[in-house]
């Protein structure tokens, strides 16, 4: 782990955020509907439209707006939301906090289930439990989030009324209430993650079970439990780290539908609302924060991987 590697990773993080902001800016610039019209709606008078366009600098050419935005970014000012007039940074950061809480719980819950399931399926290859895990994983990767969310909502929240339907309660306010509210969304997301991670753990474990050093361990007469824990699982679960880091991206922006249905104002939903309302500063800031978190998560994963696997040495 040397300075040169860290420097290069830092460059990657910055480069990722730059490309994302450029891409988002380019896409949002080609908007057919003018952001000012969206803002004022039916009451837009020509004079008012002109005033808004001037205030938001929408008349300048696209590249100058981007440079202007970059300069502001350099001073740590992410701009003001066109829709609510609130500064964008605090809103987005708190939204990120909520998304990370949801992501953390989902990842934790998922790992508790997916890893044992995957290993079990690998050990009992071809037998019922393996087919069951296979079926679950096919289902998990084939059912869109909004379908699972809707079904869970009907069954758990309405019929059985075990859980509060939706809404978000900050843990700082009321921890139990907050957790209660998060059970359904976490369940919805975890089903998909469990499906996709258990499949990966299963194939990874099968590969390691067929490796030379596991066979050598067995032929050294070591007890099966030692062979499994010390030799097989330690190496089979390493790739899970990278998968979890990649899922962070999905968990931040990909679960917009879950955040929408369960009324959790995470960063995904804030971005969705901002996109439909053509609120460019919010879209820009949200995409940047999300991409930054994703890049940092991947860097952390690489560091964790290097710490656990002696073969990886970054020079």
């Amino acid at each position: 782990m040397s300075g040169a590697w860290l420097l290069r990773r830092l460059f990657t993080v910055v480069y990722t955020m730059l490309v994302v902001s450029l891409l988002v800016f380019a896409i949002t610039q080609v908007l057919p509907a003018d952001a000012a019209v969206t803002l004022l709606g039916e009451n837009a008078t020509p004079a008012a439209l002109a005033a808004v366009r001037l205030r938001l600098g929408l008349n300048d050419p696209a590249w100058r707006q981007y440079v202007h935005w970059l300069l502001h970014l350099a001073h740590g000012d992410l701009g003001v939301s066109m829709r609510t007039g609130q500064p964008v940074a605090p809103t987005m950061l708190t939204a990120l906090g909520r998304s990370l809480l949801l992501a953390g719980l989902s990842l934790g819950f998922m790992l508790l289930i997916a890893v044992p399931l995957g290993v079990l399926a690998a050990l009992r290859r071809g037998r019922p439990i393996d087919l069951l895990v296979g079926l679950l994983s096919y289902l998990g990767v084939s059912v869109p989030e909004f379908v699972t969310a809707t079904l869970l909502l009907i069954v758990l929240a309405d019929h059985l009324q075990w859980l509060p339907a939706t809404g978000y309660v900050a843990p700082s306010e009321n921890l139990v209430g907050s957790l209660q509210h998060l059970v359904l969304p976490v369940l919805t997301i975890s089903l998909i993650l469990v499906a996709h991670v258990s499949r990966m753990v299963r194939s990874e474990t099968i590969d390691i079970l067929h490796s030379d050093y596991v066979r050598a361990a067995r032929l050294k007469g070591l007890p099966p439990r030692t062979v499994l824990l010390r030799h097989t699982l330690r190496n089979a679960l390493l790739p899970v780290i990278t998968i979890v880091a990649l899922d962070v991206g999905y968990l931040l922006g990909g679960i917009i539908v879950v955040e929408e249905i369960f009324a959790i104002p995470g960063i995904g939903r804030e971005l969705f609302v901002a996109i439909t309302a053509r609120d460019l500063p919010t879209v820009q800031a949200g995409a940047l924060i999300m991409a930054g978190t994703y890049a940092v998560a991947n860097t952390l994963a690489d560091i964790a991987y290097a710490l656990l696997d002696p073969r990886i040495r970054y020079d």
């Binding site: 509907a33 009451n43 829709r83 939204a95 909502l153 809404g167």
Partner: protein, 523 residues
């Protein structure tokens, strides 16, 4: 003054699997005082979209009207029967030509920052509203004001550019809220982050996409009100989830319930479903200034294909009243009952042939994607008009693109309008030649004359006759097809008292609400 009894039982035809029975749970004003109001407690209200605009002059959607009504006050307020009652102004008089109105303010009114609220603030507020650069929706809805002068601290004189009888009701418009002169003339954008009003509540926290919290304004001009300590406005974008939250007790009031949820709410335990007929309607605007809709028989033919009762069922899930191509219905003061139009495909086909389209006509009907009922109406009309030879292609688009490219420009598209305070307001907003949102370009001289005449007199009988003639003209000429009106739906926990579901849809009066026994204590 309103007519709870005139509602005939809805012509509910048999067969509809879940024909909603007309439970009329509307609490009339007299019931408000039944129990003795208790002070204290926190009310949780849920709205279906974020109240993202805090500045009272710029609010546009119901959640924003609700928040702005808590924090600010206007000169007058609308009673459920659409007549004006005093708010900041305790009384008002007009000169005999109805061109000058004088409003007398209550004594020692205070803003939330305890600065005094005088006629100077009223004058500055209306100057800001009338300034085109502010782009306030109120600009064309508060009557023909030329200027507002503060004669002394408690008297504001409104000079009009033309006589206007409905001035008190017009000043109750949702955006006509009084703000401090310093802000009105200075930096208006300050109001997008903070609230300095005279309303019954003060702003505690504003997270637009999640929750807005307000607390009692101790210095409110009426010491008795508000009864509640705190009000939390929560955002529930998903109607199904919103109803579940009410049923499970997470929230106390759903300000606007979805039609599809009403059935479940009306049978849920501990929940009172509220419903009132209102003037909110969907219409199909036809550009009367260019073919094919310049020919009146084409318009009449299309109007004849629509089965208005079925349309109320399709688009409002049965929670609506059939329309007769007139934007005024029973909820309005000067409503003139007219015979209910029935669909007659054969007659429509014949009329269309006479108009020169013997083998049918091809049209493209544009419907924006918000609210969803627009596209449902378009699809329903397409199917209903098909047998009469109308080959309608439905095209949907995002609301922003609709506003930019189609609204007020296209010649065949779906409109959606909230109820206005007065008949004059709805006519001069949409259908007179000088209307701000003149979409149909009907430009009918007789209609203009009737509406203008009615505006300048306070003689009740004459106004009723003139508005009657205006409605008859629209009934016959059909500048736009208005097939159905929507009932407003809401739902509250049974322990919540004093709430009236207002037909205007933008009035909530939560300052009259109090929590009866059984209300959960909330932090």
């Amino acid at each position: 003054m309103n007519h709870p009894t005139r509602r005939a039982l809805l012509a509910g035809t048999a067969g509809a699997a879940l024909q909603p029975q007309r439970v009329f749970a509307q609490a009339t004003p007299s019931q408000v005082g039944a129990g003795t109001p208790r002070r204290g407690g926190t009310l949780r209200v849920s709205v279906d979209q974020a109240a993202s605009v805090l500045n009272p002059l710029l609010t546009r959607v119901n959640p924003e009207y609700l928040v702005s009504e808590l924090l600010y006050s206007g000169l007058t307020r609308l009673r459920p029967d659409m007549t004006a009652e005093p708010d900041l102004a305790e009384s008002w008089t007009a000169n005999d030509t109805l061109t000058e109105w004088t409003f007398r303010l209550r004594d020692n009114l205070r803003f939330h920052d305890s600065s005094p609220c005088t006629a100077k603030d009223v004058a500055a507020t209306f100057t800001a509203i009338l300034d085109p650069k502010t782009a306030s929706p109120a600009r064309t809805n508060v009557g023909p004001i030329k200027e507002v002068v503060a004669q002394d601290d408690r008297t504001a004189l409104f000079r009009l550019s033309a006589p206007y009888a409905d001035m008190p009701a017009a000043l109750a418009y949702t955006n006509a809220r009084i703000i401090p002169a310093a802000i009105a003339t200075g930096d208006l954008s300050r109001l997008s982050r903070e609230a300095v009003g005279t309303g019954p509540f003060k702003l505690v926290s504003f997270e637009p996409d999640r929750r807005v919290i307000v607390a009692r304004n101790e210095a409110f001009y009426d010491p008795a009100r508000p009864y509640l300590d705190r009000v939390e406005v929560l955002v529930y974008p998903d109607p199904t989830a919103q109803s579940s939250a009410l049923i499970s007790g997470d929230i106390d009031l759903i300000a606007g319930a979805g039609q599809s949820e009403y059935q479940r709410l009306s049978t849920a335990h501990g929940v009172a479903a509220l419903r009132v007929a209102s003037g909110q309607f969907l219409n199909i605007n036809m550009g009367c200034q260019q073919p094919p809709f310049s020919d009146i028989s084409v318009r009449r033919a299309l109007a004849m294909t629509v089965d208005r009762t079925a349309m109320a069922g399709f688009v409002a899930q049965g929670y609506g009243t059939p329309g007769n191509d007139v934007p005024v219905n029973a909820a309005y003061h000067f409503f003139k009952p007219v015979p209910q139009k029935q669909s007659d495909i054969a007659a429509a086909k014949k009329l269309l042939a006479e108009a020169g389209f013997p083998n049918g006509i091809d049209l493209t009907l544009i419907a924006s994607d918000t609210p969803g009922s627009r596209t449902q109406l378009a699809i329903a009309v397409r199917e209903m008009a098909k047998p009469a030879g109308f080959r309608i292609q439905v095209q949907t688009m995002p609301h922003a693109t609709y506003l930019d490219q189609v609204w007020k420009k296209g010649n065949f598209y779906v409109g959606f309008y909230n109820m206005q305070a007065t008949a004059d307001a709805i006519f001069s907003l949409l259908y007179t030649s000088t209307a701000a949102w003149n979409e149909t370009h009907w430009n009918n001289a007789d209609f203009d004359a009737a509406v203008n005449a009615a505006r300048v007199t306070t003689d009740e009988a004459m106004r009723r006759d003139l508005y009657g003639r205006a409605q008859q003209l629209m009934y016959d000429d059909v500048p736009s097809v208005i097939p159905t009106f929507f009932d407003l739906l809401a739902a509250r926990r049974d322990y919540m008292q004093g709430y009236v579901l207002h037909p205007r849809g933008a009035v909530f009066r939560l300052d009259l609400v109090w929590l009866g026994p059984g209300a959960p204590t909330r932090g």
